[in-house]
């Protein structure tokens, strides 16, 4: 689905990626793990079409990414919601932007492949129906991220990009939203790329984990984690072992 071939990217003449190659298949869930400054957020923004490489372009379904792609959803750590709009208005924003441009194929898909589930169903699915008239300042961080997820998924994306979406939440809320995201990825058949600096989160979320080291990154390490998302994985020996392994690799990287 996504192809990066010999991609180069520099930030203020410091090379971050050099001849970097990476392939993502449809339906995979990737966790991008690495210390601060390793370029993981940059890589996510390259996929999102919000940053551009110096040479080879990012290809999604064979198309070069020149701007944000309508079928890609992006969820950031915070500040994603309009403070002056209620939860419901925020969830509706994507649909309003789409009707603002019409199905032009640039800002919105040229044809909707399936009828959008109505917004109130999304509010309900994410447990927001009782909060729909509240403003972002009146709800918790977890509820804010649920709002952002509802808004993004209501647009029927096939690719979901998340940049440390749960890192400012408390442990219980974070686990809750991780499980919800896994469920939604399965329900909606989403390809997921999630940036995280937390080893545990990478191990829970990614059936593949891309470990980035100090830039410039050429060959990132890929760790297979096929049992991620299975029930009870969080408490398994295998999970603990993987976390230990990841920690050692990060220390070496």
């Amino acid at each position: 689905m996504i192809t990066l071939n010999n991609l180069n990217f520099s930030y203020q003449s410091t090379p971050i990626f050099q001849n970097f190659t990476w392939h993502i298949q449809r339906g995979e869930r990737w966790a991008l793990l690495g210390a601060s400054g390793c370029g993981k957020t940059t890589l996510l923004y390259l996929l999102a079409g919000l940053r551009f490489s110096d040479s080879e372009k990012v290809l999604i379904d064979g198309h070069e990414i020149m701007r944000p792609r309508p079928q890609t959803g992006l969820i950031l750590q915070e500040y994603g919601l309009l403070p002056w709009a209620t939860v419901e208005e925020n969830v509706r924003l994507g649909a309003r932007i789409r009707s603002f441009y019409g199905a032009d194929g640039v800002h919105a898909p040229s044809h909707e492949t399936r009828v959008t589930r109505n917004l109130s169903a999304w509010l309900k699915r994410l447990g927001l129906d009782a909060l729909s008239a509240k403003y972002p300042s009146q709800i918790s961080g977890g509820q804010g991220q649920r709002t952002a997820i509802a808004r993004t998924l209501s647009l029927n994306p096939d690719l979901l990009l998340m940049d440390e979406p749960f890192s400012s939440l408390d442990a219980l809320t974070r686990a809750d939203l991780q499980n919800l995201t896994l469920e939604l990825c399965a329900e909606e058949n989403l390809t997921l790329v999630m940036v995280t600096h937390a080893i545990e989160e990478a191990a829970i979320m990614g059936d593949k984990i891309l470990l980035l080291g100090n830039p410039p990154n050429e060959n990132a390490q890929i760790i297979e984690n096929p049992r991620a998302g299975e029930e009870g994985y969080r408490d398994s020996e295998e999970y603990t072992e993987l976390c230990r392994d990841l920690r050692q690799r990060m220390e070496r990287a």
């Binding site: 919601l81 994507g94 932007i97 403003y135 009146q138 993004t152």
Partner: protein, 247 residues
């Protein structure tokens, strides 16, 4: 703040005025018992209503003109680092100048009529709105812009869905902060080169007709004009920017 408290404060001010008038006991400080009937008399039978309407129109036109020109300019500066870097020093120099000292110059250039008065009010409000809207646009978190872009928004949609609603509180705050100054400066401009407006009315009654109760009625009308504008902006703010007042 409760409405009841505001009414009580108003009554207290009237009471204080009454007591002062009784202590001073001179024609230059008539009591509210004298002034208030004159106020209604002048408003309903005299020509104070005409003067008030003209003053109101001048402030309103100045306000509208300022919003229409300053808000888009502020939004542009808030979105373009380059333009902002270019214009910032100019704004930095012009913004703090007390615009009231420019009154003689503006009158010299534009002469009599409504325009110079509207123009002065416009100048006072313009910089206030420009600076607040620009800073508001600059302060929008990058994450918010990126998120909305990822929903498909290009330049036009970003403007419509993000920058425009974000500038609204800044416009209203700027208006609320400076509408008092605008009315004060209007008074000054209306004391020369015109025969209309509350400023003229007050000046005429004070200096030529020596009709102090009518002068006070004019002062009362001008104060009420300022208050009404302030409360209108406040009301609009509560209506249009509900999110700022939720708990």
């Amino acid at each position: 703040m409760r409405k009841r408290d505001v009414v009580f404060a108003g009554l207290a001010i009237l009471a204080l005025w009454q007591i002062l008038a009784m202590i001073v006991d001179r024609s230059i400080l008539p009591s509210p018992v004298v002034v208030i009937p004159v106020f209604f008399e002048e408003l309903l039978r005299g020509d104070m209503l005409k003067h008030a309407a003209i003053s109101f129109w001048r402030v309103l036109a100045g306000m509208l003109l300022a919003v229409l020109l300053a808000a888009p300019a502020g939004l542009v500066l808030g979105q373009s680092k380059k333009l902002n870097r270019f214009f910032s020093p100019v704004i930095y120099l012009l913004y703090p100048i007390p615009k009231v000292v420019l009154v003689p110059i503006v009158l010299l250039f534009f002469g009599v009529g409504n325009f110079p008065k509207i123009f002065i009010i416009f100048m006072i409000l313009f910089f206030q709105i420009l600076v607040l809207v620009r800073d508001q646009a600059l302060a929008l978190p990058r994450g918010l812009i990126q998120s909305v872009r990822s929903l498909g928004a290009g330049r036009r949609a970003l403007f419509y869905f993000v920058y425009l609603p974000a500038s609204l509180p800044a416009i209203l705050t700027a208006l609320r902060q400076s509408v008092g100054t605008a009315v004060a400066v209007l008074y000054i401009t209306e004391t020369f080169a015109t025969r209309y407006g509350l400023g003229y009315y007050i000046f005429l009654n004070a200096s030529t007709l020596l009709n102090y109760p009518a002068m006070y009625a004019g002062v009362l009308a001008m104060s009420l004009l300022g208050l009404a504008l302030y409360f209108s902006v406040d009301w609009l703010e509560h209506r249009l920017c509900k999110w700022q007042f939720v708990e």
